[in-house]
């Protein structure tokens, strides 16, 4: 009766193989590395950069332990591992010299970093070390509140001016437009023009819900954003802010930044390893500006392109990405603040394009400029840190106003990138830091050490007790507990769930609770033996009877864990994740695996005389009745 079917053993073996594979990366430690990422919007790290880096290192005779190109993240990154920190810093200096020949305008950020020395074949099956939270590795954490009301406000301002233009273009007479909170009130002299306006606006602007108001003598049309449009404006604002933040943070050269939405209107930014909050805040809070300018196509302007003669008065020289120079006029046609939106789309010939929307005032200027400069090139420049970078140069094909398309972009990817860059130049809505945490690296190391030390000591103490008290069955329980720990670490590594200090505490606490199940089983077996049940029967009964109780006790703990996960954030969520996963692995290892081991040890012995589960004390015959229970 105490035998497992073959498949059950196979499940156990599979679980053990999984556990070992995914736990092992945590023991490899980290190797010093240099990571190279682009800080320019138009330059990306790619395979050619990778080979350039390898060649440079080879020429300088610097030995490296492997290079990788990571294109999965937000910003493609080249990473090179080295044997020691000395080589790392030499390589960093060399690469900085070679990749950034122009010291005043670097294209790449070359940052020292630590990366896991897990072998490649393990990395390929996503076996990576656990992801440590900031409280364990040090770094800065910001929680930012995005002012979405301001995004709505901006949108309403645009709509207001668009309405004026629309009504003027369609010859609908009105007596003024007024903002009242989130509503726009359009006043009319008679209800006939209101009806006309209703039709015109309804056809042109699908984002608005219209409602009649006012009196017969003083008719009003009340326009408000539809709930869907309102949500869309807020979503876009938040997404744009996150994109902008990602772009800015990329240039900090942080190893694994976390930029995530939290709740409806918040953004979490976590920068592991960064110690300089002031600088981080400076970069996060920086305002980039976007400007559209005409290309100087005069003879002087064209002459200045190769840089031999200075650009003519009223013009400046820029480069497109890293390469082609271009001379632009200093007059600004429109700036980023006037940009309402930019979406990748397709033009009438099904070519990739970017649809740009400007506000009313910029649209008027645009109309005039395009009328006067047909078939001439225009450029969009992104200014950051006082340096401009040309994003695109396009030829004006026709006269247009606030809505136009940039075409001739080649493929959809380029169009997407450009739309993103146009949008990301500025923050869509103001942000405010509402939570800030700075954890020094030494503190992180201390936290890891004390967390693991207490887990080890607790584990050792429990093991000693279990083996003394339950002998062989105690040893089996300890084995199950160790497997539980391994499976838990493997799961955490696989899911890349963030391990925090409370998370380590949860590992310890879960181990304490997991041994519960084995104590329950062992006590039940003893009880059965006390009653005089035959050894094999007692083992089977003990496991079966204890199971209901084990399940019960874990359900209540699971309820607490799930609610903690749902309502917690940061470190508490770290606790909850480990807690919930730990309960699941503990049921599996304490019941399924320990039974498997016991079956393997005793299941095949037909004449089992006694069970090595420690001394079984039987109450004397006189008192037996009452204690039996």
């Amino acid at each position: 009766m105490n035998r497992y079917a073959l498949w059950k053993y196979l499940v156990i073996v599979a679980a053990l193989v999984f556990g070992v594979l995914y736990t092992v990366p945590n023991f490899y430690g980290e190797a010093p590395a240099v990571q190279i990422a682009s800080i320019k919007a138009t330059v990306h790290a790619d395979t050619s950069l990778l080979s350039q880096v390898e060649l440079s290192l080879q020429r300088a005779g610097i030995a490296q332990l492997g290079t990788t190109l990571d294109t999965i993240g937000q910003n493609p990154t080249v990473r090179v591992r080295f044997a020691d920190t000395d080589t790392q810093s030499r390589a960093r200096d060399l690469l900085d010299r070679e990749l950034n020949p122009d010291r005043t305008d670097p294209a790449y950020i070359i940052a020292p970093n630590l990366i896991s020395s897990t072998p490649g074949w393990l990395q390929r099956i996503h076996a990576l070390p656990m992801y440590l939270g900031l409280d364990l590795r040090g770094g800065v954490h910001f929680l930012m509140q995005v002012d979405l009301d301001e995004a709505i406000n901006k949108r309403l301002q645009t709509i207001e001016s668009d309405l004026r233009t629309l009504l003027r273009d369609k010859d609908v007479r009105h007596a003024g437009i007024r903002r009242d909170g989130e509503r726009l009130e359009i006043r009319f002299r008679d209800s006939a023009s209101r009806t006309q306006a209703h039709g015109v606006i309804h056809d042109a602007m699908s984002d608005l819900v219209l409602q009649d108001g006012g009196t017969e003598a003083d008719p009003l049309l009340i326009a408000a954003l539809t709930p869907a449009a309102r949500t869309a404006v807020q979503d876009n604002a938040l997404k744009q802010n996150i994109t902008t933040l990602k772009n800015r943070i990329n240039e900090l050269g942080v190893a694994e930044p976390v930029i995530q939405q939290q709740g409806a209107d918040r953004v979490v930014v976590e920068l592991p390893g960064v110690q300089d909050t002031a600088r981080a805040k400076n970069i996060i809070g920086r305002t980039a500006t976007l400007e559209a300018r005409l290309v100087d196509v005069s003879a002087d302007g064209l002459a200045a392109v190769n840089g031999t003669v200075p650009p003519p008065f009223g013009s400046e020289r820029f480069t497109i990405g890293r390469g082609t120079p271009v001379v632009l006029k200093k007059d600004v046609i429109f700036s980023g603040q006037q940009l309402q939106g930019a979406q990748a789309t397709f033009d009438e010939r099904q070519q990739a394009a970017v649809a740009v929307e400007l506000n009313e005032s910029a649209g008027r200027i645009m109309r005039q400029v395009t009328r006067e400069n047909l078939k001439k090139p225009m450029a969009v420049v992104l200014f950051e840190r006082g340096r401009g970078e040309v994003l695109t140069v396009a030829t004006i094909q026709s006269e247009f106003g606030s809505r136009f398309q940039i075409t001739g972009l080649g493929n959809a990817q380029t169009a997407n990138d450009l739309a993103l860059l146009l949008r990301a130049g500025a923050l869509a809505a103001p942000m405010q830091i509402i939570e800030e945490r700075l954890i020094g690296p030494s503190l992180g190391a201390t936290n890891i050490e004390s967390g693991f030390r207490s887990t080890e000591f607790g584990f050792a103490a429990i093991s000693v007790f279990m083996i003394l008290y339950y002998v062989v069955f105690g040893a089996v329980s300890v084995l199950a507990l160790a497997i539980n720990l391994m499976l838990l670490v493997a799961l955490l590594s696989l899911l890349q769930a963030t391990l925090t200090l409370p998370g380590i505490a949860a590992i310890a606490f879960t181990l304490g609770m997991a041994i519960d199940a084995n104590v329950l089983i062992n006590e039940r077996i003893r009880e059965e033996l006390r009653k005089g049940t035959a050894p094999q029967q007692a083992i089977a009964q003990g496991y079966e009877r204890a199971f209901a109780t084990i399940l019960d006790s874990n359900v209540t703990t699971l309820i607490a864990g799930v609610f903690l996960f749902m309502l917690g954030s940061g470190p508490v969520r770290g606790f909850a994740v480990v807690h919930v996963l730990g309960i699941l692995t503990s049921i599996f290892s304490a019941v399924f695996i320990s039974r498997g081991v016991v079956n393997l040890l005793y299941g095949s012995r037909r004449r089992l005389q006694s069970v090595p589960i420690g001394q079984i004390w039987r109450p004397s015959a006189a008192a037996g009745g009452a204690a039996r229970g």
């Binding site: 002031a278 800030e436 505490a505 606490f509 009452a626 229970g629």
Partner: protein, 352 residues
């Protein structure tokens, strides 16, 4: 080896009344402290700034207080944290300051005069720091901060060091307090629902009351001794609530079983025999979990201290309440054999 050699049923219920009076008194004391003195809530709930400063020699707390008092108007707290060298400073949120600024000012005030154990070169670094933090945010470029960071890096471990800063805006704090309350409520309701499905309603009520009693006692201890009540402590309280409720479940399971097997025994006898049968298991399993939490309390460092404390107290109160409170409440609620042993009752009805 066997620890528990119990010859006969221990009459737990005979002492229950005494313990219940003690429970009631401590419960009311805890409620009183919670109501009138309140919890020493961490800045996660109240908003404000916490900074941990590592000195190179045992810190002079009085000196630190007066140095901070020169710039800080509000109520601030200074206490040693973990070791005599490490100091934890709590500052209330102050209007007109953005996040982190308060901590910068306080740290520069603390390092204005060289403190014991610092390398001589530190004074210059601290002076540079004081100058740097005067810069407005926009001028804190990488170029401006690089020399300072380099100097700090060179002297790492030799100077007074700002190890941690946490700033929480007031709006986040009040939300967290609310979320915490919701989490507590949901856990209690969830468990109550589970018990109601799993058991009879008198038992589920008894288990919930007993375990709420634990929660109130643990939180009450934090109020009485002014220990800091932080988010991880709340998590610990909730986790321990889920954990200790199952002790009551196990005892009630046995009560149900014994109602079935001991047909002639009275309710009190059944409860006593059920607790006696499970007591050895109760003590061993909780002993194992306690071993873990106590090692965490001893070796987990200051960051885990209150968390481990809440777990430890929660487990202790959990054992006590499962044995003496839960079953007693079930008894007072008038639990009967017929409440639990329904199938048997039906059988009898058929026989008659």
């Amino acid at each position: 080896m066997e620890f528990f050699r119990i010859h006969r049923t221990i009459p737990f219920m005979r002492y229950a009344l005494v313990f219940n009076v003690i429970s009631l008194i401590t419960f009311l004391t805890a409620v009183g402290f919670l109501a009138f003195r309140g919890l020493n809530l961490s800045i996660e709930f109240t908003g404000g700034t916490v900074m941990e400063v590592a000195f190179r020699a045992p810190a002079n707390l009085e000196g630190i207080r007066s140095a901070i008092g020169a710039t800080e108007k509000g109520e601030f707290q200074v206490q040693s944290f973990g070791s005599a060298n490490d100091v934890l400073i709590r500052l209330p949120a102050r209007a007109g300051f953005t996040s982190g600024q308060q901590a910068e000012q306080v740290f520069s005030a603390l390092t204005a005069v060289p403190s014991a154990g610092e390398a001589p070169a530190c004074a210059a670094v601290h002076a540079d720091y004081a100058k740097f933090i005067q810069l407005p945010q926009a001028e804190r470029s990488p170029e401006a901060s690089a020399p300072l960071l380099n100097a700090q890096h060179q002297l790492a471990g030799q100077c007074t060091e700002l190890r941690r800063v946490e700033y929480v805006g007031p709006q986040v704090g009040s939300e967290l307090a609310q979320d915490g309350g919701v989490a507590l409520l949901m856990v209690v309701l969830g468990i109550a629902l589970y018990l109601a499905i799993r058991f009879e309603k008198k038992f589920s009520a008894a288990a919930i009351i007993a375990n709420l009693h634990d929660v109130v006692l643990v939180i009450g201890m934090f109020a009485i001794f002014r220990w800091e009540f932080s988010l991880p402590v709340l998590a610990a309280v909730l986790a321990v609530l889920g954990y200790s409720v199952n002790e009551s479940v196990i005892i009630f399971d046995r009560v149900r079983e014994h109602f079935r097997t001991m047909r002639k025994a009275s309710v009190v006898e059944v409860i006593d025999s059920a607790i006696t049968a499970t007591i050895s298991r109760t003590i061993i399993t909780h002993g194992a979990t306690l071993t873990m939490t106590v090692t965490m309390l001893l070796f987990g460092g200051p960051a885990l201290h209150n968390f481990a404390l809440a777990l430890t107290l929660g487990i202790l109160f959990g054992v006590y309440s499962s044995v003496f409170v839960a079953a007693a409440i079930a008894k007072y609620l008038g639990v009967k054999r017929s409440d639990l042993v329904r199938p048997v009752k039906d059988e009898r009805a058929v026989l008659q």
